[in-house]
């Protein structure tokens, strides 16, 4: 998909995400949601009592987990998505300033310089990508028990359990921050944001 702004974007809006990027995010979110919900049915005793059907829940969890990286891999076909991955990967001097301000809870606009993605979003993106692959690897070791010796399986269970908890907490943070910022959500839903929001949240972003 070309990098130029969507023709559908109104003159007073700024283009942020292409249709392909939005669908990549949507599909990933749905699969991740299925993984989290089925995990809670398997893991939290009260939910497990409510739902039962262990065999079925395990199957759904396994297949949703296996499919989780697929939308991102498919998204790589989009040039805009690849360009954004490049932006997420690049850390500049302003990201250091942003992180330092975040650590001391300095919320002033001047101390939070950001380009298209702020430093927090960059770290989240890289970490969640790594975490999903670790979950996938350890999940496969638990699924196909004959693949590896027993100590590996026990180790995989250990990592899968604790990382699941961590991913749950971090995702709650991700969703919580989105809930607190309607314009950011509009950007992910419609593809465009208001110039005021862009200027305030991402002052260094030049499309």
């Amino acid at each position: 998909m070309p990098l130029r702004a969507d023709p559908a974007v109104a003159a007073d809006r700024r283009h942020r995400f292409t249709r392909a990027e939005r669908w990549t995010h949507r599909a990933t979110a749905v699969l991740m949601g299925v993984c989290v919900v089925t995990a809670s049915f398997l893991y939290v005793p009260e939910f497990a009592e409510l739902v039962g059907r262990r065999e079925l829940v395990v199957r759904v969890h396994e297949w949703a987990g296996l499919a989780l990286p697929v939308p991102v891999l498919a998204g790589l076909a989009s040039r805009a998505f690849r360009a954004d991955l490049g932006r997420l990967n690049r850390f500049g001097a302003h990201d250091r300033i942003w992180l330092r301000a975040a650590l001391v809870r300095d919320r002033r606009r001047a101390s939070r310089p950001a380009d298209k993605f702020n430093a927090g979003q960059k770290i989240f993106a890289a970490w969640i990508a790594g975490a999903v692959l670790v979950m996938l690897g350890t999940g496969l070791l638990m699924w196909f028990t004959h693949l590896a010796p027993l100590v590996w399986r026990t180790g995989a269970t250990f990592v899968h359990d604790w990382l699941a908890l961590t991913v749950g907490v971090v995702l709650a943070g991700h969703i919580g921050m989105a809930l607190g910022d309607p314009e950011a959500r509009r950007g992910m839903r419609t593809g465009s944001v208001s110039p005021e929001w862009a200027e305030r949240e991402h002052p260094l972003w030049r499309p």
């Binding site: 005793p45 993106a125 790594g130 590996w152 180790g155 990592v159």
Partner: protein, 229 residues
């Protein structure tokens, strides 16, 4: 930089798998002691926080109590029988305190179980000569288990009525469950409602899905846990 965080997360994950045995021992010791002092019970939700986990293969499990619970004994026996909860409580009770080991890895140390020896019910029913195995069914309508007759006659196999010195709760398979002390916990069928003496072993629910039929702790399912009995 983003790539470094990504690769670092992957590396930490791999390291975690390798270092898990050490980490797990430390965490279990720490969380176990924390759970003893935790009035909220939240530690129980953490991985390795200790305690039992609830697994049910059925969509929903009916509740049974002293008025409607029945345990039938039938198959290759001379005297088929049906026991109420009161009947079972009136029989001599045996109490054992041993570790519980699940095949998925969790272990609950020193758990008291109390109930009637399975061998007593089998003797009362008069097992016929050609019998070789015992099949168990459950009032969840789905789960099944089985043992060879020799395994079923062991002194550490109970029809359990109490666990942790309380009447068995529904979530733990109450009012009556099987307790097969020397085997992985999937053999200890919850919500026990039927004992059928058969000629041969019929693989149970999880055994149809790949688990070992002879599920000795530490000597089956590719695991090497310390024996529980």
């Amino acid at each position: 930089m983003g790539r470094r965080i990504f690769l670092g997360t992957l590396g930490l994950g791999a390291l975690g798998v390798l270092a898990a045995p050490t980490l797990q021992r430390g965490l279990e010791a720490f969380l176990g002691s924390a759970a003893d002092k935790d009035p909220t019970g939240l530690t129980g939700l953490l991985p390795n926080g200790g305690g039992f986990r609830y697994y049910s293969v059925a969509a929903s499990v009916p509740h049974k109590n002293a008025t409607d619970y029945r345990l039938t004994v039938d198959g290759l026996v001379d005297h088929p029988a049906s026991y109420t909860l009161a009947d079972l409580r009136a029989l001599p009770q045996t109490r054992m305190v041993k570790d519980v080991q699940c095949v998925t890895g969790w272990r609950v140390p020193g758990t008291p179980f109390e109930g009637v020896r399975l061998s007593r019910l089998l003797d009362a029913a008069g097992v016929r000569a050609k019998a070789g195995a015992v099949r168990f069914s459950c009032f969840d309508g789905t789960y099944t288990e089985s043992l060879t007759l020799d395994q079923a006659r062991r002194a550490d196999v109970l029809v359990a009525l109490r666990m942790q010195d309380k009447d068995l709760e529904h979530a733990h398979g109450g009012p009556v469950r099987l307790y097969v002390a020397p085997m992985y916990f999937y053999k200890s069928a919850k919500w026990l409602s039927g004992i059928t003496v058969t000629e041969d072993v019929h693989p149970g629910y999880w055994e149809d899905r790949g688990y070992d039929v002879d599920a000795w702790v530490g000597r089956s399912n590719g695991r090497d846990d310390a024996p529980t009995s």
